[in-house]
């Protein structure tokens, strides 16, 4: 009750803030003007690439639906958003949008009629995209087949369904601005920073958010919880142990293929690689990796408070049972020493997901298994079986505790009741 009261008070304060701080900025909607392009075919091709890097299609396409016709439901802590149609259909898509309209959405988070967009559309990142690149994405979206698909309403909890509140939210939490290159850094580093913080919108998942849904800048890319999806996006600001160039090459391989010598992507990141990152040029993938590896480590998000505490004695029992299960069911692929098999089965020692403050990823991998994405460079991925049919909650807790506390790993033990919560976690 007290929490709700605080929310209402803070929302009221935000509403006052709009009136007081109404910014001149929004009165001048187009701070950069469109520059005509001579070669429209090349512009569309570049726009297609940028739309892939931005992963527009992932959110704006329903499962099995027409590409870019919207209709995908996105569950968040604030309710369920349903993405709109961004094909060039006049009645239901972007058909009547001008390039300036598109720019205002990408750069200012405003719809065509001027109302503020919810930041589930990651304009807080897309605002860093240059006008020329936004125009290219627009040109590409105009070139795809139009599909008639009316927008469906969002189903948001109160007070988030009050869209006018977003005026205040934007004023407090959103500063529009195209990426400004850092002259101290190389061209590749700047390209990496531009892609990570702009089109790639990595922080949408990998940065934790405050209660108002705003990314915490002090914890940029330090890992984030996908609250309604029950996944944890691991920290991207970890200093690599290998040399910077070797580490960049390994990470670039992971982004473009879905697997690397020690890693494999899964869960939501498998979708990101499948639909977006596999199309990165090698140069761009290396630039992203190089930029991420240069980041100073920022403050990690707090460990989840709702995890059950596990006593020392019970941890011992879990470890014993976990070792037995691991040797029987896991070691054939991930190896006794947790080192995995290069490019096939990921290493579990020093694995950011296994060691994450929340054990949710490790729990869900044991429960659901999964394939790495089938990419152009790894078209026939190896997979892991789901153990949910055969393992009890305490079996999963035991084997995850064993992984989190072996081979130099040092993370908290996991209680069976924390496994039970994820048995029915959403799969898409």
């Amino acid at each position: 009750m007290k929490k709700i009261f605080l929310w209402i008070v803070s929302l009221g304060a935000l509403a006052v803030a709009i009136v007081v701080l109404w910014p001149a900025y929004y009165g001048n909607p187009s701070v950069e003007t469109s520059v005509p392009v001579a070669d429209s075919t090349a512009q569309i091709a570049r726009g297609r690439y940028l739309a892939q890097v931005s992963d527009c299609m992932a959110c704006h396409t329903a499962r099995g639906g027409t590409p870019f016709a919207g209709g995908r439901a996105i569950k968040t802590a604030y309710g369920t958003f349903v993405t709109p149609n961004i094909t060039p259909d006049v009645g239901t898509g972007l058909g009547s949008w001008s390039t300036d309209d598109f720019w205002r959405a990408m750069h200012l988070g405003r719809s065509r009629d001027g109302h503020p967009l919810y930041p589930v559309f990651p304009y807080t990142d897309y605002t860093h995209i240059t006008r020329a690149d936004a125009d290219a994405i627009y040109a590409y979206l105009r070139s795809i087949p139009a599909a008639s698909a009316p927008s469906q309403p969002h189903a948001l909890h109160f007070p988030y369904d009050q869209r006018w509140l977003m005026y205040a939210w934007q004023r407090v939490y959103f500063t529009p601005g195209v990426y400004q290159p850092n002259p101290q850094q190389s061209e590749a580093w700047n390209r990496g920073a531009y892609l990570v913080n702009g089109a790639g919108h990595c922080g949408a998942c990998h940065t934790s958010r405050n209660a108002m849904g705003s990314a915490l800048s002090k914890s940029a890319l330090a890992g984030g919880f996908l609250v309604a999806q029950d996944w944890y996006a691991p920290a991207l600001d970890q200093t690599p142990s290998a040399s910077r160039s070797a580490a960049a090459s390994e990470l670039a391989t992971l982004l473009r293929t879905g697997t690397s010598a020690r890693h494999s992507v899964y869960g939501p990141m498998s979708e990101v690689v499948f639909g977006s990152l596999q199309y990165l040029t090698n140069e761009d993938a290396l630039a992203i990796a190089d930029y991420l590896h240069s980041l100073p480590q920022s403050e990690p998000p707090p460990a989840p408070a709702d995890m059950a505490k596990v006593s020392g004695q019970y941890t011992g029992e879990l470890m014993q049972r976990g070792a037995q299960l691991y040797h029987n069911d896991c070691a054939a692929c991930h190896q006794i020493n947790g080192a995995g098999v290069r490019h096939i089965y990921p290493a579990l020692g020093a694995n950011a997901s296994v060691l994450a403050p929340s054990p949710v990823n490790a729990i869900r991998m044991v429960l659901n298994g999964g394939f790495a994405p089938a990419t152009a460079l790894n078209p026939r991925p190896f997979g892991m079986p789901p153990f949910s049919p055969s393992y009890s909650d305490s079996d999963v807790a035991a084997v995850v505790t064993y992984m989190r506390q072996s081979w130099g790993n040092d993370a908290s033990a996991v209680a069976p009741q924390d496994v039970a919560r994820f048995r029915s976690a959403p799969v898409d």
Partner: protein
């Protein structure tokens, strides 16, 4: 050889499984030397890749004895392929299958389907509920003769008189667990399971009563499957309905 060329070659050879495998190995060495560096104890085979599937569907696609997972070994390849695509594209909703197929390509799903289609049909017997003789009689009647009054064709009219299925895409109905069979029929009736239109199974199940679905599921689950039975090469008679799911 560029990656694009390799992809095209891979696609063309998709149906020739062995050739593809050999070619895949050659490409793996040529295109990505790092991949070939895997230790010898992990065989570079489709079986190894599909450990994900066999934990529930049994080695070689034979279902286990825990009552639910269908046998997939020896089912028509195009049927299995359609089901994998249906899970991926939102026409079937079993959460684990939706999750596992989400980021796989048509080409890989084809290879997976063809692998299991080439295995034997044999499966373990599973438990069926005990029912009265009148229920069994109703089930057998629907399977063999249908219910002309309700415009329901017989199962055998499409799934072959042996109930072993028909190439390329009509599955066999014997050797499946009762719970699985009943769930599929009920899901079709409620719209939770869909096939490509025209969705004839949705239509048929809607013409039947829930008790009829139960009778069919029980009777089918009690029939013995021959281990080396294969789907019939073609349907002997003209099918009574047009079904989108029977396309190759």
């Amino acid at each position: 050889m560029t990656t694009m060329q390799a992809r095209i070659v891979h696609k063309v050879m998709g149906r020739l499984r062995w050739t593809t495998r050999v070619l895949g190995l050659v490409l793996a060495v040529a295109v990505r030397p790092a991949l070939a560096a895997a230790p010898a104890q992990i065989p570079d085979t489709i079986e190894q890749r599909l450990k994900t599937c066999t934990v529930c569907h049994g080695a070689h696609g034979r279902a286990g004895n825990d009552g639910y997972y269908p046998s997939i070994g020896g089912k028509p390849g195009a049927y299995l392929y359609h089901q994998l695509v249906n899970f991926r594209d939102g026409r079937r909703h079993y959460p684990t299958m939706v999750y596992l197929t989400s980021n796989l390509t048509d080409a890989y799903l084809h290879e997976i389907a063809d692998y299991f289609a080439a295995q034997n049909l044999a499966i373990e017997r599973t438990e069926a509920p005990t029912v009265g003789p009148e229920v069994l009689a109703r089930g057998e009647q629907l399977v063999r003769n249908g219910d002309p009054g309700r415009k329901v064709p017989a199962c055998v009219a499409c799934h072959d008189s042996s109930l072993g299925g028909v190439l390329p895409a009509t599955p066999g109905l014997v050797g499946l667990p009762h719970d699985y069979l009943f769930a599929q029929l009920a899901n079709w009736r409620s719209g939770a399971r869909k096939a490509l239109p025209p969705d004839c199974m949705a239509e048929i199940t809607k013409r039947l009563a829930p008790d009829d679905l139960r009778a069919v599921a029980v009777w089918l689950s009690l029939q013995h499957a021959s281990p080396d039975a294969r789907p019939a090469a073609k349907l002997e008679q003209v099918p009574p309905m047009e079904c989108g799911s029977t396309t190759p």
